[in-house]
Amino acid sequence: MASSSTPKYNSNSLENSIKRTLKDGTNWEQNEEIPRLPGETRVTDKDVIYMCPFNGPVKGRVYITNYRLYLRSVETDPVVVLNVPLGVISRIEKMGGASSRGENSYGLDITCKDMRNLRFALKQEGHSRRDIFEVLTKHAFPQSHNLPFFAFANEEKFSENGWMVYNPMCEYRRQGLPNERWRVTFINEHYGLCDTYPSLLVVPYNATDDDLKKVAAFRSRNRIPVLSWIHPENQAVIMRCSQPLVGMSGKRNKDDERYLDVIREANGQISKLTIYDARPNVNAVANKATGGGYESEDAYPNAELFFLDIHNIHVMRESLKKLKDIVYPNVEESHWLSSLESTHWLEHIKLVLTGAIQVADKVSSGRSSVLVHCSDGWDRTAQLTSLAMLMLDSYYRTIEGFEVLVQKEWISFGHKFASRIGHGDKNHADADRSPIFLQYIDCVWQMSKQFPTAFEFNEQFLITILDHLYSCRFGTFLYNSEFVREKEKVTEKTLSLWSLINSEKSKFTNPFYTKELNRALYPVASMRHLELWVNYYIRWNPRIRQQQPNPVEQRYMELLALRDDYMRRLEELQITNNSKIPNSSASSASPSQMMSHVQTHF
C-alpha cells in the first residue's frame, strides 16, 4: 500500500520506468529495458499476442536474442513478462495457415523442456511469422545449424570460478584415497581405455593396469568397475560400472571374475560382494540378446546379485509426459490422486530412492562392498551411486559438496547430458532424450523435504540447477563426456554454473541447515511421504500458491537478525560496564523497552 502512494517522479523505481516506456510505445528501438547478458545480442523483435493459458490473450512484443525469448505485454497492468532462455525450447511448430479463420489461430506453438508450452498468435498478413520462425529455430537449435551454444558467447564475469570446484584428486584425497588398498590410475588419461569415463580413476591396489584392460573387454563400452566412494570407518566401497558382456551364450571372463574378487577383498571382508543391478530382472535377462546381461551365480560365487527394478529411460520419459498432461496448463481437478498415480512418476522416484537406500545401508552396515550397474552405467547407476553417497556422506549435502557430487558422478562419469536433454538439437522426438537427471534432482528434493535441516542448499538451488540444465548459458551440462568437453575446450571457453551459484551463495542457502557429521540420512521411500514437487512442476500456474519467501524461513531469519543484534548490544553493554566499573545502571536504553519489543514478536 505504501508503495502506491510514493511520488510518481521517483525515477529510480523500476515500476515507473516500465510505465514510462509503455507510454511512448513507438520508441521500442531505443528500449534498453530488456535484460541482456554480456555477450548477448539482439536478433529481432515483433508484435505478437501471447496466448496465456491462464489469463487469456495478452498483446505484447517479443524480443529474440541469441540467448533468450523475451516478451513484454503492452496495455496491461500489471505488465506481463516472459523470459525464456532459448535452450529450454524443445519444439517450435506453426499453427494455423494463411487461410485460417478464427481469432488468434495463426501463429507459433512452442513446447518447452521445463513443463510449459508457449503460444503466440501473429498477424496473418504477409507471412509475418516466417522470419520469426526461422530466427527462433536457428537460435534455439544452434547445433542443428552449425552454430555454437550461447555458452561460448557468454561474457559474464563472476567473483567465483566454478570450474575450480571439482578437482578429482582433491575429492579422492578427501575420502582418504589413495591408501594401501586403493590406487589412483592414469590409464585413462587420454581416454584410451574408456572414452566415456574421466581420465582419473580409483581401482583396487591389487589390480594392475593390464588387468583393467582385460576387464574392459568384458564390460559394456569398457566401463569397468571403479570406485565412487569409500566408507571412512568400515572401508566398504561403492563401485560403479556397466553390465558384463555375457550374451546369449553365457560368456565368462576370468579377469572380470578375479577383479570383482579383488574388490570384495579390498576392505578385508569375508562376506560376499553385493551387486545391485538397477534394472528389473526381466530386462537384464533380455539384454543378453544384445550381448549384455548380468553376473551369474556360477561365474561369481562370491557375489550376491539383487535387481532394483528401476525402469529404462523410455519409461521415465513417458511418465514425465503424462505428468505434464495432468499439471499443464490446468491442474487436473477431479481425481487428482489417481491421475497422479497413473503417471507413475512418484512410483519411479520411490524405486530409485529405495534402491539408493539399499546401496547405502549395505555399505554403512559394513557387511559388504557394493557394485552398482545398469546397462551402460550412466543413467540409473549415476542416480543410485550419487543418492547413496548423499545419504552416507554429509559433505555432499553442502552447496559445494553437492556441486562436487554432480560434477563427479554425473558429469565426469559420462551421463549423456547432450543426448538426454538434446541441447540445441531440433530433433525433439529423439528416443535418447529422457529426464533422468531431473528425476535425480527430484529425489534430492524429496530428501530435503523430509529432512529440512540436513541440507545446506535450498529449493531455489535445485530449481536453478534444473533451469540451467536446459539454458545453455553455462558449459557445465554441455556434451556427453569429459573426452568431448576437453576437445571442445569447455572450461576455457565457457563459464561454469557453479560460478553463478557460488558468487551469490546466500541466495541458495537453507537457513535451517544444521551441520552434522557422519550421520547417515535415510529418507522414507513411502508414498505416504513422497509428494509432487509443486514448486517445480506446477510453477507456471498462478493458481498454485508459492509462498515466496517461505514464511517459516522468513521468521527464522528475523529471529537470527534479532539474536545477532542482541549479541552485539550485549557486547557493547559489557564493554561499557567493564570500563566504568561501579555505577552505570542509569546509562543507555531502558531494558524494559527491549523486552516489550521482543514480546510482541512472540
Binding site: D309, D379, P452, A525, V598
Partner: protein
C-alpha cells in the same frame, strides 16, 4: 518366537483417577512392540476400569526417561473406553471382530483406537480365567450400549469436585452477556438481538438457552414452531453482512401443516429481506454437500488406511496409496467443504449479502461451514481463545450432538458421523497452508481431536446444553457436597504441564498489531484484502437496490406466490463469480490477519500426517519432518530470550553474571517427525525398506522392454 525375558512377578499398581474403579485385570499379558515382524514386547498386567483399558508395563516403573510431551491423564499404554474403535480377537491366526457375547476366547487381542493407535496383546501365557474376565470385560465396557449416567464423566466429577473456573478467556456462550459481547465485537448489534425466549427451554431442548436473531423476529414467531424456520445468527462480517443458520421443518405429510409452515417461512423471508437487512442468499447444505452418511463412510474407509497391523501391511498398501486414498473420498469431502466455505465467504465479503445456511437440525453441516467461514474471515477465530470460543458458540452450545455423532454410548451406530473431526481436518489444511496465521499449532488440533474421547471433560459428552444442564442439576441434588461442576477441555492444564502446553502455541504466529487509539474514529478496520478486491464490489449496491424494489413490488402484487423464487439460491450463481473471487485473492500477497482462503486445487489438499501417521514406525523420519525446523525456531527463541535476560542483568549490574548459560538446546536432529507423539526410544538405525514395490506397467509394455540404447553389444565381442 518370543524372546522370553523372564517375567518378574512384581506388583504394579495402576494409577487411578478419583472416581475410577478397577473392574477386571489379567496378569502375564504380553504386549507386542509394533515395529517389525519380530515378536518383541513386554510382559505386564492388562486392566480395565470404568475409565480406561490400561497395560501396566513391568519396566515402566523404572523408566525415568520422561517424554517431553506427556498427557497427564492418559499414559502411553492407556486407552479410554470411548477411544476404543474396534477390538479383534485372533484365533489360530484368524482375525475376528469382537462385539458382544463371546463363546471362545482368543489367543491374541488387537485393539484399534480412535486416536489411531493399535495395540497387540498376546494372551497365550495368561491364566484362562483371567483371559475370560479381561476379554469379556473390555468388550463389554467399551463396545456395548451404555447409559449416559455410566459415563466416567459423572463419577469423576462427583469424586473430584472441580473448583477451578477453567474459563481461561474462552467464551462459553452460556450466558446472555457472552452473546451480547459477541454481537458487539462483530458490530452485529444494530440489526440483531440476543433473546431469552428459551429460558427454561420453553422453545426447544435443542436450542441453547440464549441465542441471537434478527431484531425484527418476534418472540411469538420463535415459539411458534419450536425455533424451526427461524434464522439464527452466527456471525457478522465487517461490512455488516451476516451469517445465519436455520433448521427446517421435518417432512410433513399433512397438507395443512405444510401450508402453514410455508406461509410462516415466506413471512420470515420477507421480513429479513427488507431493509435494513442485506440481500439474502440461502444455502441448503443438505442438498449441496455430502451427507452425514457420506462423511461417515468416507472416514471409516480413510482411517482404516492408518490402522496398520505390521510392516508388511504398510508396504503392501503403499504401492497403490494414492488411489486407495482417493477411493476413500475423505480428501474430496474436505475439499468440498472448504469450497463451500469459500463460496459463502464470497457472498458475505464481496456481494455484501447475508447468507442463511439451511439444514434439518442446523447442528451438523451448518456447524462445519459456519466455523470454517469464521476461521477464514475473522482472525480472532485463529487465536487459541478465539477458536475455542468458536467451538463453544457453534458446536457445544450450538447443539451439535457430540454424544450421538461420536457414538460414545454405543446406542445407535447409524447416528455416528465424524462431523467435528471433519472441521478439524479442514482447519488443519488452512493451518498447514498458512503457518503464520494461527496462534495454535497442528499439535493443538491433534490433541483436541484426541480429547474427543476423554470422558473427564463435559465438552464433547453431551448432545445439547439442555442435556448437560438437566444432568448437572440432578447430580448436584444427589451429591450435595459443594458445587458440582464438570471440567472443560479448554483447561489444558488438566492434560498437560506448561512445558507440553508450549507445543500447542505457534512460534510463527505474530499477533495482530493493535490499532492506534488515535485512529479509532475510522469506524471499521479495513482489511488489506478487502481493499484489493476487484471493483465489481461497488457495482453490487445498485443491483441490491433494484432487487429490493422489485421484491417490494412483487410482494405487494402477487402475494401468496412462493417467495423462495426471488431469493437467490447461491448455488445457482454462475461458477465464475467464485473462480474470480478465488483467483483474485490468490494473486495478491497474503495478509495473515485478513481474509484467508484455502487453496483447494488437487495437490494442495493433504493428509494430516501428524494425526494419522504418528504411531506408524515405518513412517517415522528420525531427525526430519516439519518438527525439525520448528525445533530450530524454538531453540533460537530461547536463545534470544536468554540474551534478553543477560542484557537486563547488564543494565542492572546484577551479580550473577556468567552463571546464566544459554539453555540446553534441543537436539533437533534427534527428534522424530512423529514428535511429540511416538517416542524415538524404539528407533532402530536400519532404514525402512519397502517390501513390495514391484508393479507392472501394463500399458507401457513395449517401452518397458526396450533397451536404453539401441546398440548391439554382441558385435563388439567377435
Amino acid at each position: 518366537e518370543i524372546h522370553i525375558k523372564e517375567p518378574i512377578e512384581k506388583e504394579v499398581n495402576p494409577r487411578l483417577l478419583p472416581g475410577e474403579l478397577l473392574l477386571c485385570e489379567a496378569n502375564m499379558v504380553y504386549k507386542y512392540i509394533q515395529e517389525d515382524g519380530s515378536n518383541r514386547g513386554t510382559y505386564g498386567k492388562l486392566i480395565c476400569t470404568n475409565f480406561k483399558i490400561s497395560f501396566l508395563d513391568e519396566d515402566s516403573a523404572s523408566d525415568d526417561n520422561e517424554p517431553q510431551f506427556k498427557n497427564k491423564i492418559i499414559g502411553e499404554n492407556d486407552i479410554t473406553l470411548q477411544c476404543v474403535d474396534q477390538i479383534y480377537g485372533v484365533y489360530d491366526e484368524k482375525k475376528k471382530l469382537l462385539t458382544g457375547q463371546l463363546r471362545k476366547y482368543p489367543d491374541k487381542l488387537i485393539i484399534y483406537c480412535k486416536d489411531l493407535r493399535v495395540f497387540h496383546f498376546c494372551l497365550r501365557y495368561t491364566k484362562e480365567e483371567e483371559v475370560k474376565r479381561i476379554v469379556s470385560g473390555i468388550v463389554h465396557h467399551s463396545q456395548t450400549p451404555k447409559l449416559l449416567k455410566r459415563l466416567f464423566l459423572f463419577s469423576y466429577a462427583s469424586a473430584a469436585p472441580n473448583n477451578t473456573d477453567g474459563r481461561n478467556q474462552t467464551v462459553m456462550f452460556d450466558t446472555l452477556e457472552d452473546w451480547r459481547d459477541e454481537l458487539e465485537r462483530t458490530k452485529g448489534n444494530v440489526k440483531y438481538k440476543a433473546v431469552v425466549t428459551n429460558e427454561g427451554y420453553r422453545v426447544s431442548e435443542k436450542l441453547p438457552l440464549y441465542f441471537v436473531v434478527p431484531i425484527c423476529v418476534s418472540e411469538e414467531n420463535i415459539l411458534k414452531f419450536q425455533g424451526r424456520g427461524i434464522p439464527i445468527w452466527c456471525w457478522s462480517c465487517h461490512n455488516g453482512a451476516a451469517l445465519l443458520k436455520m433448521s427446517t421443518f421435518p417432512k410433513e405429510q399433512d397438507d395443512n401443516t405444510s401450508q402453514m409452515q410455508k406461509a410462516f417461512l415466506d413471512g420470515i423471508y420477507r421480513t429479513i429481506s427488507n431493509p435494513p437487512y442485506e440481500l439474502l442468499k440461502t444455502e441448503d447444505l443438505s442438498s449441496s454437500l455430502p451427507s452425514l452418511q457420506d462423511i461417515q463412510t468416507a472416514y471409516t474407509r480413510f482411517k482404516q488406511l492408518f490402522l496398520i497391523d505390521n510392516s508388511t501391511d504398510f508396504w503392501a498398501t503403499d504401492v497403490k496409496w494414492f488411489s486407495l486414498l482417493e477411493s476413500t473420498n475423505w480428501l474430496e469431502i474436505i475439499r468440498r467443504f472448504l469450497k463451500k466455505a469459500i463460496e459463502v465467504a464470497e457472498c458475505l465479503e464481496r456481494q455484501h449479502s447475508n447468507v442463511l445456511l439451511i439444514e434439518e437440525s442446523a447442528t451438523d453441516l451448518c456447524c462445519v461451514i459456519s466455523s470454517l467461514v469464521q476461521v477464514m474471515m475473522d482472525s480472532y477465530s485463529r487465536t487459541k481463545s478465539g477458536f475455542q470460543s468458536l467451538i463453544q458458540k457453534e458446536w457445544v452450545t450450538g447443539g451439535h450432538s457430540f454424544l450421538d455423532r461420536c457414538n460414545h454410548l454405543h446406542k445407535n451406530d447409524k447416528e455416528e458421523a465424524p462431523v467435528f473431526l471433519l472441521l478439524l481436518n479442514c482447519v488443519w489444511q488452512l493451518v498447514q497452508q498458512y503457518p503464520p496465521a494461527f496462534e495454535f499449532t497442528e499439535t493443538y488440533l491433534t490433541v483436541l481431536s484426541d480429547s474427543l474421547y476423554v470422558p473427564i471433560f463435559s465438552t464433547f459428552f453431551f448432545n445439547s446444553q439442555h442435556q448437560k444442564d438437566t444432568n448437572m442439576t440432578a447430580e448436584s441434588l444427589k451429591t450435595q457436597s459443594g458445587p458440582f461442576r464438570f471440567l472443560t477441555v479448554w483447561d489444558w492444564s488438566v492434560q498437560f504441564e506448561p512445558k507440553a502446553q508450549a507445543l500447542l502455541s505457534n512460534p510463527l504466529y505474530a499477533e495482530k498489531p493493535k490499532p492506534d487509539k488515535s485512529q479509532r474514529k475510522t469506524t471499521r478496520f479495513k482489511h488489506q484484502r478487502q481493499l484489493s478486491l476487484p471493483l465489481t464490489q461497488t457495482k453490487s449496491s445498485p443491483k441490491r437496490g433494484f432487487f429490493r424494489e422489485e421484491t417490494d413490488h412483487l410482494i405487494k402484487n402477487i402475494l401468496g406466490k412462493r417467495i423462495g423464487k426471488f431469493i437467490i439460491n447461491s448455488s445457482d450463481e454462475p461458477h465464475n463469480s467464485f473462480r474470480e473471487f478465488y483467483d483474485s485473492w490468490h494473486s495478491k500477497p497474503v495478509d495473515y490477519h485478513g481474509l484467508l482462503l484455502p487453496s483447494i486445487d488437487g495437490p494442495e489438499i493433504k493428509v494430516w500426517a501428524q494425526r494419522y501417521l504418528r504411531w506408524i514406525p515405518e513412517a517415522q523420519l528420525p531427525g526430519g519432518g516439519t518438527i525439525a525446523t520448528a525445533a530450530k525456531i524454538l531453540d533460537l527463541m530461547e536463545e534470544v530470550q536468554s540474551l534478553q535476560v543477560k542484557m537486563d542483568e547488564e543494565h542492572s549490574q546484577a551479580v550473577s553474571r556468567d552463571v546464566q548459560a544459554v539453555p540446553m538446546l534441543r537436539n533437533s536432529a534427534r527428534l522424530s517427525s512423529l514428535f511429540p507423539f511416538a517416542l524415538l526410544q524404539r528407533q532402530s538405525v536400519k532404514p525402512a525398506l519397502p517390501t513390495s514395490t514391484w508393479k507392472d506397467l501394463e500399458d507401457e509394455d513395449d517401452l518397458v522392454k526396450r533397451d536404453d540404447e539401441f546398440v548391439d553389444l554382441s558385435g563388439d565381442m567377435s
